[in-house]
Amino acid sequence: MIDFMQKLGHRTLSKLAAFGRSGQILFQSVVAKPAPVMMFPLLIKQIYFVGVLSLIIIVVSGLFIGMVLGLQGYTILADYGSEEAVGQMVALSLVRELAPVVTALLFAGRAGSALTAEIGLMKATEQLASLEMIGVDPLRRIIAPRLYAGFICMPLLTMIFAVVGVWGAALVAVDWLGIYSGSYWVNMQQSVDFMSDVVNGLIKAVVFGFVVTWIAVYQGYDCVPTSEGISQATTRTVVYSSLAVLGLDFILTALMFGDL
């Protein structure tokens, strides 16, 4: 029993320490040192890896999720004779919830795990150490551009996801199931509010992007520099960031849309 308590205490302390280290990394790479101009090409490269290469999976998933929503929405709403409202249902659920959350989950799997593995491997092959010895801060050179790229790409990917989804739903509901396109779009425009829906969805995307990249980068930087350690760190990135996204989504939704 005492043994168990001791272990629990030890675990808690080491988790706290890990959290502290991750905060330190974040602070030193982003907050304490604003991005110099030299970082720009590095940033472009990271946006390419983190954003552009995630584009395909985001577009394809957005399309299919939109189409499914259109189909399901239509069949459910048709029972109440208000299938015209499918546009509003699809748009609200996409813009408020599905786009930020699903994009963040895909982002964690596609870009987050890659970031962790890349940084972990750099650590294992002493590239980070040799950067330090050359007199270049790896937090600034390696970590910071990746963090910024994550912040920038997540909101953009989320918006692309939402638009593709809305369009996919229109494809199903309007073109295949024959809802009058005017009522699809007008119903949608009336119920979706720019500030309270689109902007709130964007805020979620920014927060998720921040959290997922932070976790990914930290796990890579702090991993045990062996192949086993890297594979564990990669798994942790996906698990932790998925949980963090879902948990934060509830909190943010309660703050934004609930009357809590």
């Binding site: 472009i44 946006i47 004779g81 208000s82 409202a85 953009l156 638009v163 809305v166 009336q190 979706v192």
Partner: protein
């Protein structure tokens, strides 16, 4: 060379990202930058507004001519006072128009329908529509129906 294609694709990516934002703003949320704040305000008092909310549409013959901007309780009359913003090009509402709260579809949203009157004078900004008809509230209807049954 590789850097160049990378730059181009990143630029392209950012561009479609921002385009997506524009589409979300204009096509999905129907944000209308041009008419925002450019319309004029008119008011109407209702005994009961039911489920009417701000941003509900104001329409005439089914065509949107403005939107509800604010709802408050008039402390003297103890009635709901609805502030509407009418698009600037709709400057021909006769002074004796009437307003009623309607529902689109069985479960749909509530909106305000304006029915024109015959007066030659038009509603000036800030004026009230006096002829109003409240929202249909299901409980009231049922209540009335029961009363009729009893009195028969």
């Amino acid at each position: 060379m590789r850097m160049r294609t990378m730059e181009i694709s990143v630029g392209f990516f950012m561009l479609i990202g921002f385009l997506a934002l524009v589409v979300l703003a204009l096509n999905v949320s129907g944000l209308n930058l041009a008419s925002k704040g450019a319309g004029y305000k008119i008011y109407a008092n209702f005994e009961n507004i039911g489920g009417l909310t701000a941003r509900a549409k104001v329409s005439m013959s089914g065509v949107q001519i403005g939107e509800v901007t604010r709802i408050r309780l008039d402390p003297q009359m103890l009635m709901a006072e609805v502030e509407m913003e009418i698009y600037p090009d709709i400057d021909f509402l006769s002074a004796d128009s009437s307003a009623m709260i309607l529902t689109s579809g069985l479960l749909g949203q509530q909106y305000i329908g304006i029915i024109p009157g015959g007066d030659v004078e038009v509603l000036a900004p800030g004026e009230f529509i006096y002829n109003t008809q409240s929202a249909l509230v299901l409980e009231d209807l049922v209540g009335k129906f029961l009363m009729n049954q009893v009195s028969e």
